[in-house]
Amino acid sequence: MKYIDARDCRYILVGIAFWLLGMMMAYPIDAERHAYFLRPPNHHAKIDSIDFGMLHINGSVFLSIVANNLLIGILVSAGGFLTGGILTAAVFTWNGFILMLTIRALSQCQDESIVELFAFHGIFEISAFLLFGTIGFRGFSFWKNLIEKDPMPPAVFINWKFALLPTLLLVIAATIEYYMIKTNIR
């Protein structure tokens, strides 16, 4: 049995399309004004760097990164499946929106370590969420078959082993993120 079939490839493309839609929606926004999540409260200056010294890094930070990412993975996969893929589409669009704001705010940033911090782990994180998303988008066929009282095709149901690869990718992303933050604290 192949790990990813043609249907999953289509769902990955659908996921990318929603991500791009979110990015396009963020385009008209003044990123410098709205990227409040990248600077401390009441700090109105332009973003030149992030003060990593204000972060207190220990083992529990790594666990909280993994737990947060897994929670979103569950929301995108199980939550998406139960809502016929609507939750998956909404989360991808929202992620694209925030990602575009972040990219535009960071493009004015002088400190390259910040760009590295977001870019390297992001590749693994986005891949993992797209794979989780294929589970979520299968929910559309599930509900469609249920409402139309058609017999469920076996492809609708999910093998739990399918969630192993995205989970592994999320752990790799969290490890990179943890060490990138840790090495930036001097």
Binding site: A26, H34, G79, L82, A90, T93, F97
Partner: protein, 187 residues
């Protein structure tokens, strides 16, 4: 729309989700009328995304809300027919839909006027909770919890072929408890 089957119930829950979304759109648009022009676009995008995610999660919550009593009844080996349970679930959702339609009415009657005196400030939430619309909205929500649970239990009582007191108390009690917990968590 009145077919008594799982797919019929899913269709009614979908209708409820649509009504919930429409109610949310009306509320968002009324509240956005007080938002500053420079923040309007980002406020609109984040409001609609939040609305979409909330409606999706409500769909899951309703499935859980109706699924749990059914599985508890199966666990205690109750002989309550699935058809009776589904019929009661239909009336439960109808009550929730009626509540949501009334809430849309409240938005037009009260919030539309009261929103004019709300300013975009740090105490925005406090201003909103002190409106007549908010108080009436809360009252309607509490009434909906009682009425929808009652509609569920009463339908089982009417349709049951024998004395189903334990089934009614258990399933209606569970539904009421979960609804009330969600209400308390959201206020």
């Amino acid at each position: 729309m009145n077919e008594i089957s799982v797919s019929g119930l899913v269709k009614i829950i979908l209708c409820y989700s649509v009504v919930l979304f429409v109610s949310g759109v009306v509320k968002v648009e009324i509240l956005l009328s007080v938002v500053d022009e420079t923040l309007l676009y980002s406020a609109r995008v984040s409001s609609y995304m939040t609305l979409l995610i909330t409606v999706s999660l409500t769909f899951i919550t309703i499935m859980f809300l109706l699924g749990l009593p059914w599985f508890v009844l199966q666990y205690i080996k109750s002989s309550l027919p699935l058809k009776t349970f589904l019929h009661a679930s239909h009336y439960f959702i109808y009550a929730l839909v009626a509540n949501e339609i009334l809430k849309i009415g409240l938005l037009f009657i009260f919030l539309k006027n009261e929103a004019k005196s709300i300013t975009m400030d740090f105490d925005f939430q406090q201003q909103l909770t002190s409106t007549v619309w908010y108080q009436l909205n809360r009252t309607l929500d509490i009434a909906a919890i009682f009425i929808s649970s009652f509609a569920f239990g009463w339908t089982i009582k009417i349709e049951a072929d024998q004395n189903r007191s334990i089934d009614i108390v258990l399933s209606t009690g569970l539904i009421f408890a979960i609804l009330f917990t969600f209400y308390m968590a959201n206020t």
